[in-house]
Symmetry: D4
Subunit: 256 residues, 8 copies
């Protein structure tokens, strides 16, 4: 059989555009493709929800690829070891209660499991704004190709309706920042900015900073600590994974 | 247990530096983390060879993440369908003999399988030069942090000794180009540059362009067609996967 | 009626993706949205051919918007006055045989007439390569979002099959340059580069430089003179308009 | 007849400089060449007023060319359908009350009608400041070549006297921002900045946000919502067109 | 009397546009506002010729302002001392035959004398191309605002007809380079590029390198040595001034 | 006589370094080489004071070279006509009381007269800070090569002691801004920023805004209006010249 | 003996990684490699403390290399002359009490003595954050490769535990700024920013501005004056050297 | 005693300008401040020659600061161990014949010894050209502030006369490249460019590649291998140090 270039083109455009049309209305829209959001998305898709995840870069995974100071290793503590096993990520104990994993293996497995579970990923797509309604509720997100802003083009965005939006955009917490900047008088706690490094306190705080900060908007991972003004943690990822797990649970409680 | 930041730091530095020391001498050094090299590396690690793969960016996967024109889908033809199944990559038939897969799932699974198989990946590391000896044979590669050149720093590189080097760096074919530029009189075919797009011919040509082009240096994937002046293919990846498979076989025949 | 954001999104995505699917195979693909190509495209669409025009920038019109030295006026000579009238472009005589028109009116009317005539325009899309076949014939073009290269992303292109391709990309003559660079031994005259300014000679030469330079590839407008090494003309546009007219005629003779 | 380069040069310089001299004093100066201002300018020129429109870029039309997310389509709702027809812009109904039009056709026809109606357009010219007088009234604008600031040159501007100035500069609302920044104690409402996306509310609000915000200064289109802190709308353009219509009516009431 | 902004604007536009119209046809067009061209232009204007000088930057004077290594002093030797006196430039003897002058005084007096003598200067205007005719003769130049290329705009140039063109553009010799690049087969000596520093030889060579290199095109100053492959001189300016003097004489012999 | 490169080098270094040593202590240090400061410096040097002027760019003259919108013409009103004559600058009357001059002639003559009068000019040198003493008095300035900051080098500055410092740095008023930013509690009026364009009011205000704003620090030209929050004027220069004249008078009253 | 590339690589990696592991816990961590910190580090290492110094650039020495205005000389006053002698730095008296030294000799000797004394230097490493604990005490620093931020990579940092941290980062005082920005309610005096130049007062103030500003954090050199709002000094280095001396003493008093 | 800012300024300017005047004529001018040139300069100064070394950056030392891949360690082999000892550089044996030293200590000691020995260093100064004479002999160099080219200024250079010039500019070999480019027909071997990495061969080749390549021009260090097309070596520095030693010997033989 001779390969036809045009059929290849059609297969890609047809499959993607149908998916895009279908995913303009979802149960959960996750912004950011880092580890916390990948866990949350996987959990939600497993439960049967319609889940879309938007990542501004080409590759998902955020800062996890680079480990610590470009040495591609991460550390996970005791209580998150189960998640590593669940995602088939190899690890070995370095010291009592400290487990080392390959950051490249970790991130690629988090991504592949998410997609296998039914999460629909849109990469190269940036969050530009939230959608709101009178009842002061986030009802979706406004998106655009990342390339549009990088190339400094003036092009209008499109919209995704979502019952729940999860902000997993790391230090910048872009969804929360947008809500705070654009709805000054709203009943929102505000983005305080992360405090200095303190792995232990940062990990512990994630348990309560992962929460619904505004009707329809949940925050997870480093973004959760940034919004609450809690410490940053560096290359230890246990809390991140557990935060994603918790964000999924909160979302489910809102969706049911 | 209270988490200690310094133990986290030590775990990462210790694990990585021991690995780096160990992998200064390998059986096969693969340059570039695109699909062909990921297949080749996985095959070689499965066979028990000591394999290091060097990727200049943070994330592996090259252009596969973006599918065609930022629509994250790829097409694979009939004869490479087995590889998709082997790597647990989902697909569906679009047209007779044309299979569509999610590019994000595909690339993340190729990466995770490679690492699981024992391939040691060094990301954020760039190829800077080859190592040679009198008998006109590539005996390893010269590497540096990618950040060094991006930040325009003047810092000396380090070296990796390898019995076989595989160039899977895509259109640029940087290893082959370096050999050609620096050893003008050597018995090398030269880098011709890829011809216009023609998926069918490009895919067919890969079968003979994947080969040992210089003693100790094998070329695979799009780099193979670029070196041979064969057509480019676009977002159809069957030939790439089969080329990686073949590169591994050639490497094995040299190593034994 | 309350406006629904998601219906707006769906309307745009649905309409565009159906059009894109439909236009992966066309009679004529024109590269570049300058005046010569706009005339050619309009003529071909009027005749009932399926015509797609690809423009790399946001706005079509090329250098015509800026007139001469940012003074938004153009000059047209006697023999192209009919085309101005046909496109409802106002003008007045400056000197015997020299007609002045508003460059902004001229370019916006050329664009609007083209679209009204049925030309399907794809803006923000760049030409990346040609498609060829054994019989040394251009059989289509390879395209990508302009934003992909501006943002320095590594993303594969898609393809458009066309019976005829018209290169109207101005001084750079990108389609012709690509054919010449990639098919060195082909039966092609080559890209000589334009000669110094000489309006009169430049305009006269366009009559024979507008032609089929390679099977399936016609060149028009300033690209035609650049390929032939003929003089450039500056802000006099009569020859450009007539060249577009001629390119359409040559294309029709090939299509019938 | 042999074409003479110098006569071409003279024709352009002579025609433009006479027009520039003539338009240093106008009835209405519109800043920004987006859809709302194009409608307003066309209406005013039809009524016989002397109208100058200043656009900082080479091409007019602002973000309309790119449709939504680089898919060149726009949506218009029921109550603005008449304007499409009036400007000969083709459309079809997508859903009940939602009409889709080609964004390239739309923008080129808005521009060409404006120029045909007698609007004098100065492109590549940036707004730099307002002119004022004791009675706290905007009496004109201060302009410069856009290229001067892009090239980081230090060159003084020139001035245009106008009875009415209309700010149609989109999200930035540059004329209103300048008045607010430079006349702190003035009786001006201030630039609040647009709220999150909500097409329906954004469109409705435009009816009262389009108004005279400072003596001699009217604001229209997205700039009107930005100044009032009303929601943004995305790629639905009905409200924009009606806002331009209303801005023209307000201007006429001031001029008579 | 109350000052009127609009009258100021009109005075500037009116005076400049009349001058520009008048100077589209001149006796001599000098490209570059460095010392050699300033001398040449002054001489020619004194003789009553119609002379236009085009400078791409805001200020004329080229590298003379900075003296040597940012120390604003220049050196002039014995045989050019008369020119300093003629232009009222102060100097004092440093060593036998070496005279030191203030570079800022020198350059400002060369400029002011040129304008006083009737030279019409167009600054911020770049040379873009030459105009030619069948008889292989330079008949003028093609110009554009410098800001157009700096701002990366696509805008057509305009033209100036001249009986003689003088290239005084320093090391780059842009007019000569353009002639050589665009008229490959022409009877032109070519641009060899300047040789290493050797003040004495460089100064002596200027006497014969200042000449008509192509019909209608004279080269002077550092451009003359660059075209001839003669040595560069550094911050000694006697030869430059004498070269300008000679270029004027050659031009006069052609004009009469 | 054979020219010796090294003698040329020595002549420049010797002359400049002696001058620099001598001018580390002056009567008046003027920051900025625009028209107001050039007038002030010339007046002060004529009176016999030791005067140094520091200009950050290669050429002096600031925005005067470019006239209005790159048309190299300026306008001067009746009451400053005498200064034009005094500096031998040609002009002609455009309208009753409005005189047009060539901006290039004007600026070059202002510069050449200043240097001839004995003003010592240091170009390519930037103001970095003021020097102060307990009695809250400006006692000099801190300078550095402009190239140091442009090249982003970390190099310490040097100092110039002055009895009076004049800030003629235009819109930015860098000396005044530095005093305000660094001495928050000082008895200084503050930098308000210029108001919108209004030539007549701007020119009139300059008469009282030109003054000693802090002990030892006088402000002149556009900087004076910027500090006082008075209107800007555009390309009319009468007030600038008179402001320089007045700044000199104020300085003389302080020095005597 | 034949040199083996791989042994060279192993020697470097092995030696560095062991040192890095060892220095994750130190007595004193100094941030910034300028003169004050080099003195302080040398003193502390001489006393037997475990000392690590982190410099973000390739070379240590900060602004000292460039002397004053790129003339590589520094001045030291009487009371710091002893330190020059102690570090074998040559000098000569210029004026009574003013000693001139070669800045390049000075800086290279300060660096070489520090390393010889046992200071462990990590160059190309940037300070990213502080580490803190409940008792509001700085307990270490967070570091990353400088190249990571220059190359705009997203990579997690690592940590160094230190009993005392010394901020010697010059004008920016980055450690102090970070503490102030991230711990708003903490008992910290704040970063006021340096006052204008006044060498004498600046030097005198350093004696009391060099101090522990926050538990565990000492500030020295120009950073000390910047934090206290004291004057800057320019290229006189006596106070800097004495400040480093004092910082060491304060640190020792905390460590014992 | 109160410190006087102006005396500090004078001390620096006076000392530097006298040195600069004195060093416009030297025995040896070394271009580049890397290890080979530092050794060569030290040797020559010890012998009593007048030696000037020009370094384009702020700090000397070139790539030595960064060790291998940003790990600040270097390796030196047996036969260069004596030089380490002579320069008081600490080292320890890693493996039989391989000695590891701290790269920061090594480079700072090479620099400090050079200056102590009487080498006059000019940093921030770039080589721009060579000086030549009829007898085809390099007679000196042409220099400029590095900041001039970085800031893209147009400023003339100055000159240094030297009996011998040594090119120690590393991979680029800028002096040799300039001679080759500007004197095409000269009796020079040419710049071949370095071959791939091969530490052993690279080190051995340095013994014969370090030589006088053109009358008056010696090449040393990596520049020597680059000119000869010999292999590069990476972070092993023994050969570099020995090459500097040899370059000094060749220079001495020419000078005597």
């Amino acid at each position: 059989m001779e390969l036809d270039d045009i059929t290849i083109t059609k297969a890609i455009v047809d499959d993607f555009s149908k998916t895009f049309m279908d995913y303009t209305e979802v149960d959960v829209a996750l912004v950011g493709g880092g580890p916390a959001n990948l866990i949350a998305a996987t959990r939600l898709a497993h439960k049967g929800y319609k889940v879309a995840l938007f990542e501004k870069k080409l590759a998902l995974g955020g800062g996890m690829w680079g480990g610590g100071m470009m040495f591609p290793r991460i550390v996970v503590q005791e209580d998150a070891k189960d998640i590593l096993e669940e995602f088939d990520i190899n690890y070995h104990e370095y010291d009592n209660g400290y487990y080392v994993a390959n950051s490249i293996e970790s991130v690629s497995k988090l991504i592949s499991k998410a997609v296998s579970s039914g999460v629909q990923v849109f990469n190269l797509v940036s969050f530009e704004d939230v959608m709101i309604r009178e009842d002061d509720r986030v009802t979706g997100i406004v998106i655009n190709w990342t390339a549009v802003s990088v190339a400094n083009l003036h092009v209008d965005p499109l919209t995704i309706r979502a019952k729940v939006v999860i902000d997993g955009t790391g230090h910048e917490a872009v969804v929360c920042s947008t809500v705070q900047r654009k709805i000054p008088g709203a009943k929102f706690d505000g983005v305080v900015g992360e405090r200095p490094m303190w792995a232990d306190a940062g990990e512990r705080r994630l348990k309560d900073t992962t929460r619904e900060v505004y009707p329809g908007l949940i925050v997870t991972g480093m973004a959760a600590n940034a919004v609450a003004g809690a410490p940053r943690m560096g290359p230890v990822f246990g809390g991140m994974l557990l935060s994603g797990d918790m964000a999924a649970k909160i979302a489910i409680s809102k969706l049911d």
